[in-house]
């Protein structure tokens, strides 16, 4: 039982009768039947379940309903990661995997595949529908204040939209039901519940999400912002602005998507000061989240703790909160058990999935920079082009006995030698959203909104360095006119850092996704996309070419930074649909299967299927 489920159960326990009663019950019942057979004996209230009349009485009940929904969402963790990653090109099956995992990986799913059953998703959706309906009744009957209703209704509404986006992504054409129905199987009734395709679904979700009364997080002091069993609930809840941005991104409303994302990037307000202000969700160089080396050019001196790797291990401390936006914890003391250890670990697990060779090749194809000249800690490096591979790969997977193992989910379980610290202590986290996800999606939106330089800056070395004519020059100079975008919202960034006059402006610590990972920025062939015959700022001559070049690289960056975190298939599908280019997805899957070593035979068939636009799983009830 998860700590989230606990609340519901604790509430239910009020009505529990002593166990002795149950033990005596058959005797009593038998005696009663034998003696009298009186009908009244069976007319007692149910004793170990909550009757509908006992729910939704006050805001505490509403909180329990919200927590209950999240408890059910947690049980989708395994399916979520398998559907979103194994169908993509970063995760692969192992020789231990069963036929159904193989089907997922090879895009050849039969209807009896248990991993592709949509019912677990719909079960939660139906519960959301019920909760939403009752919340409305509660606020009408003044059992809950309007502000409390706004927060809770929006949260459950967002979770339902997120679930619908998931089923839409994987099943394509699905029934969109927003009213509670008595029996889940009732949705098979094709007349009552017409199936709609992904496009129509996204339009519906935009409409619904825009109608939500609140997009903010639960405010501090709210009964849902608390500590449960040692876990702060501040990262339990879905971020509605990011979901809104994602839905806009799917819908092609890029300016609105960027605006939604930007609200989260400025979570501590547009102006302010202090560590939280400068660091939270800004991909800051002060975040303890970078790839760093004790000696700039010595790979063996890479920093394990703190740093990028530690993001996946560290407890929910202050720095954790600067990067992570939505994380659900699995604790050894509560159900559900962390499903990822069994899925991924070679020791203490079944090792059913592994990193694909394709994903390893993505990291190997990168070049690192080192930020300091040898022997000094201040002067910028001169040569930056021959330190091979991306160290994020080094931390995302590890090879034990020749077997590559996905490590991101296992840092709370395995020690440095790859052995379980305690075999039975299966604690872990379900990583859903973090600042890097936010920034990369923002960059994707900005690029499609023709803000190429902003997209480039966010994904590469940050605003300050990109919007500066002398990126490495000392901060003692006057930077008044540099290090800022001079654009309208949501692309207005001021990252000035100077000492004369003094600036430490809002974004000055932003170091960009690739800057943080210590890899080389992308090199754009200017002559290909810009008119080089005129003076700067040079006009773009091939906007579509530039946009696609940047988009390809942003999607690749998603693979490097967010591998195995459940983003890959949606990222690939979104771009393939946007470009109406199935080969974008088909060729990547083909390459993964060819390199897999155990799936090469299925590669041709998978590519042909995807090239024909068959992206979706069979919707089998």
């Amino acid at each position: 039982m998860s700590l989230l489920d606990m609340t519901v159960t604790k509430m239910k326990q009020y009505n529990k009768l002593p166990g002795r009663f149950f033990r005596l019950m058959p005797v009593i019942a038998l005696a009663t039947v034998l003696s009298a057979g009186c009908r009244k004996v069976f007319d007692f209230e149910p004793t170990n379940t909550v009757d509908a009349s006992q729910m939704y009485r006050n805001v505490t009940d509403a909180d329990a309903a919200v927590i209950g929904i999240y408890g059910q969402v947690m049980r989708l963790a395994k399916n979520y990661v398998l559907l979103n990653e194994l169908r993509g090109d970063l995760m692969d099956i192992t020789p231990n995997s069963d036929i159904y995992l193989r089907q997922l990986s090879e895009h050849n799913v039969t209807v009896n595949n248990p991993y592709t059953d949509p019912r677990p998703f719909y079960r939660v959706i139906m519960n959301c529908n019920d909760v939403l309906k009752n919340f409305k009744i509660m606020v009408q009957q003044n059992k809950m204040k309007q502000a409390e209703f706004d927060q809770r209704y929006s949260d459950v509404g967002a979770i339902r939209s997120w679930l619908y986006l998931q089923v839409g992504i994987h099943y394509g054409t699905v029934p969109y039901i927003t009213e509670p129905i008595e029996d889940v199987n009732g949705i098979q009734d094709a007349d009552r519940f017409k199936k709609i395709n992904l496009n129509e679904l996204i339009k519906e979700l935009v409409k619904f999400m825009e109608s939500l009364p609140s997009t903010d997080d639960y405010p501090a002091g709210s009964t849902l912002q608390t500590v449960v069993d040692g876990y702060s609930t501040s990262r339990f809840f879905i971020n509605k602005n990011i979901l809104m941005g994602d839905i806009y991104l799917w819908d092609g409303q890029y300016r609105k998507a960027a605006t939604s994302y930007r609200k989260v990037m400025d979570i501590n307000g547009p102006s302010g000061q202090g560590e939280d202000f400068y660091n939270q969700y800004r991909v800051s160089s002060f975040n303890e989240s970078s790839i760093t080396y004790a000696r700039a050019q010595d790979f063996s001196s890479i920093t394990y703790t703190p740093g990028w790797r530690y993001l996946f291990e560290r407890p929910a401390d202050r720095q954790f909160g600067w990067e992570w936006i939505w994380v659900l914890p699995f604790d050894r003391n509560y159900e559900p058990v962390d499903p990822f250890i069994d899925l991924m670990s070679l020791n203490g697990g079944s090792y059913l999935v592994r990193p694909s060779q394709q994903s390893i090749d993505y990291w190997d194809s990168q070049m690192q920079i080192y930020t300091f000249t040898a022997g000094t800690s201040t002067a910028a490096a001169i040569f930056r082009d021959n330190f091979p591979f991306d160290a994020r790969g080094f931390f995302s997977f590890k090879v034990f006995n020749g077997q590559p193992v996905i490590m991101k989910y296992l840092y709370n379980y395995l020690d440095v030698n790859g052995n379980p610290v305690n075999t039975f202590n299966k604690s872990g986290k379900w990583f859903l959203t973090r600042a890097a996800t936010l920034h990369l999606h923002y960059a994707e939106a900005a690029n499609r909104d023709n803000q190429y330089k902003v997209a480039y800056a966010i994904a590469n070395r940050g605003i300050k360095e990109t919007f500066d004519t002398l990126p490495a020059a000392a901060r003692t100079r006057d930077v008044t006119k540099w290090q800022q975008t001079f654009l309208d919202p949501p692309y207005d960034f001021d990252a000035r850092e100077g000492d004369g006059p003094a600036y430490r402006n809002t974004w000055y610590r932003n170091q960009g996704i690739r800057g943080r990972a210590s890899v080389k920025p992308w090199v754009i062939d200017s002559s290909k996309y810009f008119n080089m015959t005129v003076a700067a700022p040079r006009p773009v001559t091939d906007a579509e070419g530039l946009r696609r070049f940047l988009e390809d690289n942003i999607i690749l960056e998603d693979a490097l930074e967010l591998a195995y975190e459940g983003d890959r298939w949606p990222d690939l599908l979104r771009v393939a649909l946007r470009r109406n280019d199935p080969s974008f997805i088909a060729n990547k899957i083909y390459d993964k299967l060819i390199k897999s070593g155990i799936s090469a035979g299925a590669a041709g068939q998978a590519r042909a299927k995807l090239l024909a636009g068959n992206y979706f799983l069979p919707f089998k009830w």
Binding site: D298, A374, F383
Partner: protein, 485 residues
């Protein structure tokens, strides 16, 4: 179904069962009368094996062959044994060894010997079994199955031969080369064989009984080829005394030491270490054979004195056999990232790097030390057993980390460890070769550069010090030392 019917069926089935029982004996009785007899009985009933049977009994192996263990016997027939040396027959120990040389544990059928099998015999020797050949003998009657094994009849006796090691030790008077190898023995302490008297209360370590746990080992069998091993086969070359002296003397200049007797031993050792190869080669096929250390063996075939078959190989004795001096010396590659040590601890300035060579897009590892602040700082690489031969030095190190150009020096020194514990080693500088480190943008920056030559004065240890010019950086992918005779 009513009870009556069920009874009827049961009765019927029983009837069938009893009638079938009559034929049961036919099914499991031994059809082949040979399988009723054990090997000893099988031998006895064969008139043409009477001599072998007699010798088996005389050697006291009859009860073994009648036992329930499984054996294979390759029995020579009476014709084959008629000329057997009576000395063998009259010496029970030799006879037992001779007879055991025809018996192996487990069964070996000719069908198992499609490819050559080296079969362990009861006397500890190994014989080759291939098809219908057992060593030199032909199998005239094959694969006779018996209760406890297999019997083959062969047309020649298989005499017990000494191993190469035994032969070497028995001919030390005749061949100086064998005398030298036999003298390379040393005592080795193997704690698992020693008797523990007590455990020291002071150190907690065992105290061994004096004189126990020592094993005699030999440098040649340990480091060159284990010619003691019976389960392998070797081809061993012997040069008769005059030729051996000529050959070993030709190496003396390269193994100069302070003591002429040490030099003599070294030059002989470096001669003999190329004179044994694994596998059996007839004298006609040995020219150009590569030794374990990569040198080609070039005998003068006209001077072949004798070829002698031994239990674990063959010996070819030549008056003249040459191994080219140049082939004796191999090039040495020193990887920059694996230094033996440093002048002083500058860990914070030492980068073990992984880089990409942009000309071939391959990764390589090197060492780069920068900002160390020590004049003439160095990383050193120590080499053992280096002959006194001219070495040409090629260096590869590329400056891909700073704009300022610099040079570094490859200082080679002979190194004599301290004579007494706590004493100082003796260094003699042989050469200081300047390596101008190319900038990564220069043409051929990732090609190795010939920086010069040096020659050690004596055989022994070397220390190569990769030395900085003033406090400049050091960068090294590898050094390649190529011998130039």
């Amino acid at each position: 179904m009513c009870g009556k019917n069920r009874l009827l069926i049961t009765a019927f089935l029983l009837a069938i069962g009893f009638t079938a029982c009559k034929k049961w004996d036919d099914h499991n009785q031994v059809g082949n009368p040979d399988l009723k007899e054990n090997l000893m009985e099988g031998l006895s009933v064969n008139a043409d094996l009477s001599k072998f049977t007699e010798y088996v009994k005389k050697a006291g192996l009859d009860s073994l062959l009648a036992s329930s263990k499984t054996f294979t016997v390759w029995a020579p027939d009476n014709d084959a044994l008629q000329n057997l040396d009576p000395a063998i027959v009259n010496d029970i120990a030799r006879l037992k060894s001779f007879i055991s040389n025809h018996i192996a544990s487990q069964t070996y059928y000719t069908r198992n010997a499609q490819i050559q099998q080296r079969v362990a015999m009861l006397n500890g020797k190994f014989n080759n079994f291939l098809g219908t050949k057992f060593e030199d003998a032909n199998i005239v009657r094959a694969d006779v199955p018996l209760k406890n094994g297999v019997l083959h009849v062969i047309d020649k006796p298989i005499l017990v031969l000494p191993s190469i090691w035994e032969w070497v030790n028995s001919t030390t008077g005749q061949y100086n080369q064998n005398a030298f190898i036999a003298a390379l023995n040393f005592n080795f302490f193997d704690s698992t064989l020693a008797t523990i008297d007590s455990i020291s209360a002071l150190t907690g370590k065992p105290i061994y009984r004096p004189g126990t746990g020592f094993v005699l080992k030999n440098m040649f069998t340990e480091k060159v080829q284990n010619i003691k091993a019976e389960d392998k086969q070797f081809t061993y070359f012997v040069i008769t005394n005059a030729g051996f002296t000529t050959e070993s003397d030709s190496l003396k200049p390269y193994y100069k030491t302070a003591s002429s007797s040490v030099t003599d031993t070294l030059s002989k050792y470096y001669t003999v270490r190329d004179l044994a190869v694994e596998g059996i080669y007839p004298a006609s096929a040995v020219t150009g054979l590569l030794s374990k250390f990569g040198a080609a063996i070039l005998p003068d075939l006209t001077t072949l004195v004798e070829t002698r078959k031994l239990s674990n190989g063959v010996v070819h004795i030549f008056n003249k056999l040459d191994v080219r001096t140049a082939a004796k010396f191999n090039e040495i590659v020193i990887q920059g990232e694996n230094p033996t040590g440093f002048l002083s601890d500058k860990t914070g300035n030492t980068n073990y790097r992984v880089r990409v060579n942009p000309t071939n897009n391959k990764d390589f590892a090197d060492i780069m030390i920068s900002g160390h602040g020590v004049t003439a700082y160095y990383a050193y690489y120590r080499l053992n057993d280096i002959p006194s031969i001219r070495y040409r030095v090629f260096a590869l190190g590329t400056n891909d980390f700073q704009t300022g150009t610099f040079a570094q020096t490859v200082v080679s020194k002979s190194y004599v460890p301290p004579a007494t514990p706590g004493g100082l080693p003796t260094y003699t500088t042989l050469a200081s070769l300047t390596h101008n480190v190319p900038l990564y943008t220069a043409a051929g920056a990732y090609n190795e550069v010939n920086v010069g030559e040096f020659t050690p004065n004596n055989f022994g240890m070397l220390e190569i010090q990769m030395t900085s010019t003033a406090t400049n950086p050091i960068v090294l992918d590898y050094l390649r030392l190529v011998p130039v005779p």
